[in-house]
């Protein structure tokens, strides 16, 4: 037993769960452990007028930097933003046909998707309780569409169960619930719960179990029209003189238990992933781009920060041209909000106190890989009737995500051919982009044999090869958070940090935005107070 009171450390627990079920499961568990609370967004931030001529230099034009720039500008600050990439948005990023991406090591990819098709290498969904992100989408008129997280007709797949044949989520879900409910119903009838319930309660519980598990009059979960209303039919009901519907045969309980597929069933119970979830129409970068549109003249792209200095009068930041290098240039301001990921910031000379300095270097960055694959036709819809949602697999690709846009319209489509965490993420990162795509196609073909015929082209983003982040997101341990988090979030002289790493919603854009809003709120108070005092 360790300090957290869990028999294994939380991190170990999360690691195991992450391995078994991928990120969705990991997030679900983080919610259960109180690590991902509801958004603290309280509506649009209203800063009073900034003292005339007060300047703020913002480092990084991802969601945190863009929101900070927009809101501070709105309050009347003189704002300038330095961004390493030759585009704004940071990890709020979408790859479309014609886009080029060169990762660390010089491995270059050109996205060859058809017009209208895309993949989001970073964040791809907006839970309904991420109020800040939803609010910025609304304020900037970015249309959203539903993101189907759980699709009952998508697959759960284990290479070691059912002869490697993928199972419909619907079947696993209905049968597991049915069998467990039958067990519980038997226990009630055998008096196993008599100490807990009186006769009335037992009656109610039996009724509830029968309704919930689709049990028959004898409390059994068996092949019938009734259970088929839950798990689906062998032959669906038809019209006119079409044959009568044929009920389907449930999977046997012991076989289901041994398959391990039940491990994926709890993902729709996840606070982070339960309906409703949204995505911006056309790609995740639409929200960041809408904010960028408001502040673009303030943003200098291709600016690689090499030194951050401060004294009692202001901040001084040195940067070089990210493409051409050359002599450092200098930017000055009264204050600085730095949203550079800790994985990069930890390597830059920053003049802050020892507490913040230690905090900056206290967090490892998680590995993750996403693969986008374009196919000649939408076989998952046409052949398998899968419209959106996610297939989970024990193969190293871990997930296959089906597109939400363009459903049932025919034509080409782009699948998320892998969303990869843990060990497999390190292994995919170590490959060339071409190898990653090839592997994702090879593995995915075990679930969708159509891959072999229909595959056209693909892109693969391994976050540890990302030149602008050196990793996916700040993977705080409990002990590091306890020791360093508050130090990281302080205003150190004239410098304050913001970003998903300075939030309690790691990896989520909501965390980045809430962090930016919290930081600029506190900074503004300090500026106003300093002016009043002096």
């Amino acid at each position: 037993m360790n300090e957290s009171g869990f028999p294994v450390s939380r991190r170990e627990l999360l690691r195991r769960i992450g391995m078994a079920g991928g990120a969705a499961m990991m997030y679900r568990s983080m919610s259960a452990l109180g690590l991902t609370p509801e958004s603290g967004y309280k509506g649009p931030i209203e800063l009073s007028a900034a003292p005339r001529g007060t300047s703020v230099l913002i480092l990084g034009a991802g969601m945190a930097g863009l929101v900070a720039a927009y809101e501070l500008r709105r309050a009347g600050y003189d704002v300038k933003v330095l961004e390493y990439n030759n585009r704004a948005g940071g990890r709020s990023w979408t790859l479309r046909g014609g886009d080029e991406y060169t990762e660390l090591g010089g491995f270059r990819q050109q996205c060859r998707f058809d017009p209208g098709l895309y993949v989001n290498p970073g964040p791809w969904r907006l839970p309904y309780h991420h109020y800040a992100m939803l609010d910025y989408a609304r304020r900037f008129k970015v249309p959203l569409e539903p993101f189907v997280e759980t699709n009952y007709n998508a697959y759960l797949h284990s290479s070691k169960a059912f002869g490697g044949k993928p199972q419909r989520y619907r079947h696993v879900h209905s049968d597991f619930r049915g069998h467990v409910t039958e067990l519980l119903s038997k226990s009630v009838n055998k008096g196993a719960l008599d100490a807990q319930f009186n006769a009335d309660d037992k009656q109610k519980l039996s009724e509830a179990l029968a309704a919930w598990g689709f049990l028959d009059r004898d409390g059994r979960y068996v092949k019938s029209d009734w259970t088929s209303t839950s798990r689906g039919y062998e032959v669906d009901p038809g019209g006119g003189l079409a044959p009568r519907q044929v009920p389907s045969e449930p999977i046997k309980f012991d076989e289901l238990l041994r398959s391990g597929l039940w491990a994926y069933l709890s993902s729709p119970f996840d606070y982070e992933l339960d309906p409703s979830i949204f995505q911006p129409v056309g790609g995740m970068d639409r929200i960041a781009m809408a904010v960028y549109h408001e502040v673009a003249p303030l943003v200098q792209l291709n600016a690689k920060v090499v030194k951050i200095d401060q004294n009692e009068r202001g901040v001084e930041v040195f940067y070089v041209d990210a493409q051409k290098g050359g002599a450092p240039q200098r930017a000055t301001a009264d204050w600085c909000i730095c949203t550079i990921p800790l994985s990069v910031l930890g390597q830059i000379e920053v003049k802050v106190g020892p507490a913040m300095s230690a905090a900056i270097r206290a967090v490892a960055y998680e590995a993750a890989v996403k693969v986008g694959l374009q196919f000649k036709r939408r076989f998952w819809e046409e052949d398998e009737r899968i419209y959106g949602g996610i297939t989970y697999t024990d193969l190293p690709i871990q997930m296959i995500g089906y597109p939400m846009a363009g459903q049932n319209q025919g034509g080409k489509g782009v699948l998320l051919g892998g969303y990869i965490w843990g060990i497999s993420a390190f292994e995919f990162t170590a490959m060339t982009p071409e190898q990653r795509v090839r592997k994702a196609v090879e593995l995915g073909a075990q679930i969708h044999p159509q891959y072999k015929e229909e595959f056209e082209n693909g892109v693969a983003v391994a976050w540890h090869r990302s030149p602008f982040t050196n990793g996916c997101f700040a993977n705080w341990t409990d002990s590091a958070r306890e020791q360093h988090y508050e130090n990281l979030c302080q205003i150190d002289g004239r410098i304050a940090l913001a970003g998903e790493h300075a939030s309690r919603l790691p990896a989520w854009q909501e965390g980045a935005v809430l962090s930016a809003l919290d930081t600029i709120g506190r900074l503004h108070q300090r500026v106003v107070a300093a002016k009043a005092g002096g």
Binding site: Y84, V344, Q347, E427, T429, A430, S466, N470, T477
Partner: protein, 153 residues
């Protein structure tokens, strides 16, 4: 890949790896990557995946690059090639076990034997010529005695 082919390509790789001064990546870009790990530790089976060269290709080169030359973007990954910090055997072992700054810890993913193999490999390749090799027991000792920075693993 069948076993014979695998052994052949492995021989070829070892031969290539010995040419440590070539400036290009040691392994051809379109070569088949090492087998993927199915379980909670690196390696489809200990007999295949425990050699340092394969572990390097499966994990380390993701950041430190196929030629161990490191990489530079907004930040950097340090080169492991000709790196004097590898003079100490304990420094790379502790780094792999517990991570360092933004580098993730691998103590949960790699066995002591695998860490010894991969650190020995790096310290004797890529223009590093250290001959004092680590044993599994050395790694076990570091794992047991050293407290990772920031508390419990």
């Amino acid at each position: 890949m069948n076993a014979l082919l695998y052994r052949l390509s492995r021989t070829a790789r070892v031969a290539l790896a010995l040419c440590v001064l070539v400036p290009i990546p040691v392994f051809a870009a379109d070569e088949e990557p090492p087998p993927l790990s199915p379980g909670s530790l690196f390696g489809p089976s200990p007999s295949i995946h425990s050699d340092g060269a394969t572990l390097y290709r499966s994990i380390c080169q993701g950041c430190h690059m196929p030629d161990a030359g490191g990489a530079k973007g907004a930040g950097a990954y340090p080169p492991l090639a000709a790196n004097v910090r590898l003079t100490s055997r304990d420094y790379p072992v502790a780094t792999v076990l517990f991570g360092r700054a933004a580098m993730p810890a691998f103590s949960d993913y790699l066995t002591d034997a695998q860490i010894a193999e991969v650190v020995n490999y790096v310290r004797s390749h890529f223009d590093n010529h250290f001959t004092d090799l680590l044993t599994t027991a050395d790694v076990a000792h570091t794992r047991a005695s050293a407290k990772p920075p920031g508390g419990s693993p």
